[in-house]
């Protein structure tokens, strides 16, 4: 029996501009990602991979088409509903970490818990959950450090802890190693592999085929259309 689909899109289309200036950044893309999969999205600049990433991450809505996230149609949700989806179901890892400056690693990780309206937690419970997440990424001894006191690799680990803290169904990683040296980059990829092995569903955007080869499947986009899907021959180590 096939694993349930976390992501399922049907003819996703995103059109920018009006009249003669209309550009289809995304033109009828239908993909699916199953639970526990580690998938890479590749494509040259202008291929629509950022647009797809933003829609899959519920940061924007498609012009047309359907998007089921965890079997829920999110393509028609309003801003407030999308914010709740981002909070509960999606964890982001950005190229530039996007941590709040002058805020400790612990407080950065607590942030998604503070915006969670569905789960009542006391201050102590939040700190406990966040501390656990920071421990998972190996930063138990850096919790009170602010981002500017941490290395790039450490900052990205804080970001990963923040992405995990609300136990999302999907982790979106946008060029997670793009700002890192090769050693730190390798460590971050290793961490993502560990998460994957523990059952996390990860979608990663990258322009590096070497990084993409670490995943199970690579989805190639070209001119806003699905170009090809390549299986990387690796099985999820469950």
């Amino acid at each position: 029996m096939a694993a349930r689909a976390i992501i399922e899109t049907k003819t996703l289309t995103q059109i920018y501009g009006m009249g003669d200036a209309r550009v289809a950044a995304l033109d009828g893309v239908s993909i699916s990602v199953h639970e526990g999969e580690f998938v890479a999205i590749m494509g040259p600049s202008g291929s629509g991979k950022s647009t797809l990433m933003n829609i899959l991450g519920c940061l924007s809505r498609p012009t047309s088409g359907e998007y089921f996230l965890d079997n829920e149609d999110v393509s028609g949700l309003d801003k407030v509903e999308l914010a709740a989806i981002r909070n509960k179901k999606i964890g982001y890892i950005f190229q530039s970490y996007n941590l709040l400056s002058r805020t400790t690693a612990l407080d950065n990780v607590i942030l998604p818990l503070q915006y969670d309206r569905t789960t009542e937690r006391t201050k102590e419970e939040r700190e406990e959950v966040a501390t656990k997440a920071l421990g998972m990424v190996g930063l138990a001894d850096r919790m009170q450090h602010q981002p500017q006191e941490l290395s790039g690799g450490q900052q990205q680990r804080v970001a990963i802890a923040r992405a995990l803290v609300n136990e999302p169904v999907l982790i979106m990683a946008d060029e997670p190693t793009g700002n890192l040296d090769s050693k730190s980059g390798a460590e971050i990829m290793e961490l993502l592999h560990d998460l994957h092995n523990e059952g996390a569903t990860i979608v990663m955007v990258t322009h590096s085929s070497e990084i993409a080869s670490h995943t199970q499947r690579t989805i190639h986009l070209r001119d806003g259309k699905l170009d090809k899907v390549i299986s990387n021959g690796k099985k999820a180590k469950k």
Binding site: L59, K79, V80, A83, R86, F94, N98, Q114, Y115
Partner: protein, 408 residues
């Protein structure tokens, strides 16, 4: 997000830019302090004036002469005469007392002192009750003594001390100009009322002043004309009735229709009313000035909040990406604007209250800090913060997460 967390974030943002926050608050501080100080000054002035009016004596009616000039150098025609006062006392019901005053200035000698330029006040016997003055020792002169032009005198408290020192003045003689008078009483200390020092004056029957001390030139032209008759009404409720009786009586005596009366009748209430209208106008002017500075302060807050939203666009994007709703963002920035205005308002209250106190003690003007002005000023500051903070907060809330995350 809980309100305490929103508060903490906003407070941290304010503390992060201390100088900028303080400069932003300055407009609110000045506005709030201005409201409090200005209201304190006008309330102080009002209180002083009310006290002066009340110290003139209660339930007073002023009958004022309106002279009409005769030919060149000729005697003025019409107006009040001394006998009008007596007529009012006899012919009007509900009158507690009638006083006519005539002032002059003379050299006064006692057995031990000579004082130049002492102010003489000639009056009728009702003066102490009508003008709310109390006798400390001896008595005031009576009606009979006024009619008979008896040469008796009553001393103001400080004048008594200057003339006689520690010895008892009652029964002693003083020489005023060339006329000898007997001291029959001393007033209690009254203090300054307006610019008039009631304690340094010499009081005697008005008939003596008119007869002996009024300047000859003045007396020749004026005859027994008087400028002002004070009438004390025994009961506040009879006030309108008494005024009407006085008007009818005097019009009849002067043989004039009421519309052409050569006198006017006013009450203390009229004077207080005029005074209140003046201070109300003054106050509303001050309120406008202070209100404008509060609005300027609010614009300052809006300006800085717009800068802050731009500076923190990326932070907003990050918060949105991890689940902050538009209303979460709106509240965060609105709270920051409110905090700026409330802290500014609080500092303004402290500056205003201490400023009113310092201004009062430095200038010698009386200032009364009015509690309602503090509440009004502080409340206005909060309103200004909410009003001018809403636009930037809403702008932040409406940001597109993708654009915000891309912001450098």
């Amino acid at each position: 997000m809980k309100s305490t967390e929103v508060f903490n974030i906003a407070w941290a943002a304010i503390l992060k830019n201390k100088v900028r926050s303080l400069l932003t608050m300055l407009g609110i501080i000045i506005g709030v302090a201005a409201v409090i100080v200005m209201v304190a000054i006008s309330a102080g002035t009002e209180a002083t004036i009310n006290e002066e009016i009340n110290s003139l004596g209660a339930n007073l009616v002023f009958v004022q002469s309106s002279f009409t000039r005769g030919g060149a150098g000729g005697a003025p025609e019409g107006g009040l005469v001394y006998d009008d006062a007596a007529a009012i006392a006899e012919g009007v019901d509900g009158v507690g007392g009638v006083v006519v005053e005539q002032t002059a200035s003379e050299t006064v000698k006692s057995s031990s002192a000579v004082l130049d330029g002492i102010s003489l006040l000639g009056s009728t016997s009702d003066f102490p009750s009508v003008r709310d003055m109390n006798i400390a020792d001896g008595r005031y002169f009576n009606e009979l003594e006024v009619d008979r032009k008896q040469k008796v005198a009553v001393l103001g408290a400080s004048l008594a001390e200057e003339l006689f020192g520690d010895s008892d003045p009652i029964g002693q003689d003083i020489t005023v100009g060339t006329t000898r008078l007997v001291v029959i009483g001393i007033f209690e200390e009254k203090g300054l009322v307006g610019d008039v020092d009631y304690d340094s004056r010499l009081y005697m029957p008005i008939t003596v002043v008119l007869d002996k001390f009024a300047q000859s030139q003045f007396a020749r032209i004026m005859g027994d004309r008087v400028r002002l008759i004070y009438v004390e009404v025994d009961d506040q409720e009879n006030l309108d009735n008494v005024i009407l009786q006085i008007e009818l009586l005097l019009a009849k005596r002067h043989d004039l229709p009421l519309e052409e009366a050569d006198f006017t009748v006013t009450t203390q209430q009229d004077i207080i009313g005029t005074q209140e209208a003046t201070t109300a106008a003054f106050r509303s002017l001050l309120a406008w000035v202070a209100g404008v500075s509060l609005i300027v302060g609010g614009i300052g807050i809006m300006n800085i909040m717009l800068v802050s939203v731009t500076e923190r666009t990326r932070e907003i994007g990050i918060r949105q990406s991890i689940g902050a709703t538009p209303s979460d963002i709106r509240w965060q920035f609105l709270t920051e604007a409110l905090l700026l205005s409330l802290v500014g308002g609080l500092i303004g209250v402290i500056v205003g209250v201490s400023g009113a106190w310092i201004f009062g003690s430095v200038s010698g003007m009386r200032t009364v800090v009015v509690t309602s002005s503090i509440i009004l000023a502080f409340g206005s500051a909060a309103l200004v913060g909410a009003f001018f903070g809403y636009y930037p907060a809403n702008k932040a809330a409406e940001l597109d997460p993708i654009e915000a995350l891309r912001h450098e």
